[in-house]
Symmetry: C2
Subunit: 452 residues, 2 copies
């Protein structure tokens, strides 16, 4: 196929960066649980050296956080470096699953989860950086590497531990083999039309009605067929905002609502029913992301409003149960919450096994850039459909990426550059590094000036 742009070599170093953007000042990203997020990334660079001792390619990954604690996430990535430095690039690229298993299986680090929270997200960042290298080596965008991979190889990338009561390796293989039928046509269609997006940009809780109205109208004009509103802080406000939004977008555009874990089970049911007259398409994160049985109870009570969750579901074992319990109409994967591409492969296959559509969580810093690859793979090689599927889109912070997503007429354009679209601009890394980047230094000086 294409020439190999990534030579043999080894991982030489693991660099980390604590990058924070001051998004809280505009209430971008504000919701009922997160009033003032400063969108941040714990960014990892796998630096490699080629066999002749020169600099090899770099692999990029990150965990998304919302500010404080980003340094803890950086420390967790740093704690993984003994698994990385010296590792053969050939091995990492040929079999990212080996690295993934080694990281998840480090028994001492596993105690800090297992497979959840800070340590697991750190593993996800590193694993995604390894896939970035693997896709560069293959000379393909990640979605295409995955979509054209041998099904048996893909199955080897998955850790089936704790899954086999719902999905066996043989069943996964069968799904992937079936997915090969018509894959070439779907790739062509994807390259031509892109993948559907919906937008959350109009609906942040901190925005006034005027801004909501303006942005909702703009979303429809831009070709989006679904918007999303944050709800859950105040029911009267929610009724007003849903009415405003529905009046602007009309009856044919879908309107999802998102409570960001704000409610207990009974309250979720009551509140969602109170908003049902505005025909919400789904209620997202109605309660704790840990509450499988709670989601199942809510789903039963609020139908035909659908139930969606996943951005905080911490691993494949919880997704498995959500599906077993019939708790979800929509699976919302997140590219940087679980253990990277490998675990998301498992989750996509679980969703396919249960026949539940996947509509990824995105936004934040660089989550759109990553997760588009997973949905495009899902379309070409797993579910075979974009019906009732869309990737979240938020128009923040893309300017900091070297290969930002391109959304046109409500669709993500399929990336064609080799890799995982994860590289941030060096000048953004320098300016927003915390606490010593130029932005934060100037910010502190300005605060001192105001105080003086």
């Amino acid at each position: 196929m294409s020439p190999t742009p990534v030579p043999s070599g080894r991982i030489r170093a693991v660099d980390t960066h604590d990058i924070r953007f001051p998004t809280s000042r505009e209430l971008d990203g504000s919701d009922a649980m997160n009033p003032d997020p400063d969108y941040s990334a714990a960014y990892v660079v796998l630096r490699t050296e080629s066999e002749d001792g020169g600099d090899g390619p770099e692999g990029y990954g990150y965990t998304f956080t919302i500010g404080r604690g980003n340094e803890v996430q950086v420390a967790a990535i740093h704690a993984l470096r003994h698994h990385l430095v010296g590792r053969s690039l050939d091995e990492v690229c040929a079999n990212p699953g080996t690295l993934y298993r080694d990281l998840v299986g480090d028994s001492q680090l596993r105690w800090l989860g297992p497979e959840k929270g800070v340590m697991h997200m750190a593993i996800g960042a590193v694993v995604n950086a390894a896939w970035d290298l693997a896709a560069k080596r293959a000379g393909q965008p990640l979605w295409r590497l995955l979509a054209e991979a041998d099904p048996a190889w893909l199955v080897e990338q998955i850790d089936f531990r704790y899954l086999t009561d719902a999905l066996t390796p043989a069943e996964a293989l069968e799904i992937l083999r079936r997915g090969r039928q018509g894959a070439a046509e779907r790739t062509a269609r994807l390259l031509r039309r892109g993948y559907p997006a919906y937008t959350t940009s109009p609906g942040w809780l901190g925005y006034g009605d005027d801004k909501l109205t303006r942005l909702a109208a703009q979303a429809v004009a831009d070709g989006f067929r679904q918007i999303k509103l944050k709800v859950g802080a105040d029911l009267e406000d929610d009724v007003r905002r849903c009415r405003v939004a529905r009046a602007v977008i009309g009856p044919d555009i879908r309107m999802a609502i998102d409570a960001n874990q704000r409610w207990d089970v009974a309250e979720a049911i009551r509140w969602t029913k109170a908003l049902a007259e505005f025909d919400p398409y789904w209620i997202e994160e109605p309660t704790s992301p840990d509450d499988v049985l709670g989601h199942a109870a809510i789903r039963e009570a609020v139908a035909p409003v659908k139930v969606a969750t996943g951005e905080h579901v911490h691993n494949r074992v919880v997704f498995k149960q959500m599906l077993q319990a019939g708790a979800l109409d929509i699976v919302q994967i997140d590219a940087a919450r679980v253990g990277g591409v490998n675990e998301n492969l498992a989750i996509l296959l679980l969703a396919a096994r249960f026949g539940v559509p996947v509509c990824p969580h995105a936004g934040g810093v660089g989550l759109c850039e990553l997760v588009q690859h997973l949905s495009m793979f899902d379309y070409v090689a797993v579910s075979g459909s974009t019906e009732n599927r869309a990737i979240e889109y938020v128009d923040h912070l893309h300017e900091h990426f070297l290969e930002p997503v391109v959304v046109r007429e409500g669709h993500y354009t399929a990336p064609t550059a080799p890799g995982f679209s994860a590289a941030m601009r060096p000048e953004s890394i320098a300016r927003y590094s915390f606490p010593d980047g130029a932005f934060w230094t100037a910010d502190r000086d300005a605060q001192k000036g105001r105080a003086a």
Copy 2:
């Protein structure tokens, strides 16, 4: 009542220590998932100053880890200091629940969980240190402060978010009010007889049959009525070891088995049934601690062998579901996994509401010292019973604590010193601090010597 030994003042500083013990060299603590743990503590000291500017009392807490990554846990505790420094000691002691809610409710830090993993365990360490201060202020051991507290005040200490479909504040209050009946008699009995213990010391996976035989016989001679064996690495070995142990202890001593999350659901059922002839009392952690539905399926299949779990159950929401789903016969709280005393109050009350006995996980570093207080409170003021209840006991590392547990004739002696029994010896902190304490420095020198 007693004079107030803790004057008014403020939290002045939050000190952290990365303390690691080289336990892996003796295979102490080895099990099917954790072959070589180095028992460690991310230790926090809340330093206070009294109103006159002098040194006030110190509050101690810690997260238990098994080695690598302990520095990440320390970083997470450090990330909480802005909630602590300057806070009034009066407020912390009068209402630890306010601090707990502020920590769990920090929306930016919450993103790193929510309420799970590294960040949540850090909150638990700090919250427990606050309770240590509160108990010192009250001049009472923590168990007694809790057991004699006003039920309405205890209810205020609990975060009922996500619990109200299983336990409301009114129901919790009713349980605690009922618990007052006969409490004085139970306190007297507890002070006289102590609280039942069981021992895991004989059963580590890395021990040979001779050591198992000797330690199991010793356990019976020491008055323990239950031992525990690690299983799950190799079925033939497990059959042999269970046979050896049962032969030593006879039919009347209970023998629990513990797989430390090793199995998938079907394998757990098959393996447990294969060991049923040795009459195991419970199978502990048969599969992922996240797998509520899996535990329920296993429990249904392996009865009359009981199912126990909890040391890695990350918060009250998962315990709630374990109980709602009928997944557990035994609730195993851990003093340092969840969000501290406050969240464990919720879990004890959930267990009482569902009528399931609590047998805490302990061992590690200082887990016995902490959790004894919670079981003793449970006995005096919640469940009112020690029947089918016992606290795990492991005879490691107690010498590093200023007020180590005292286990006699198979019972924990009730602590009488004010506080939470959490203070480590200064000389232990100095010697085992990682990487620069005297032990680790000498260890590196010795390794260099061997290498030279």
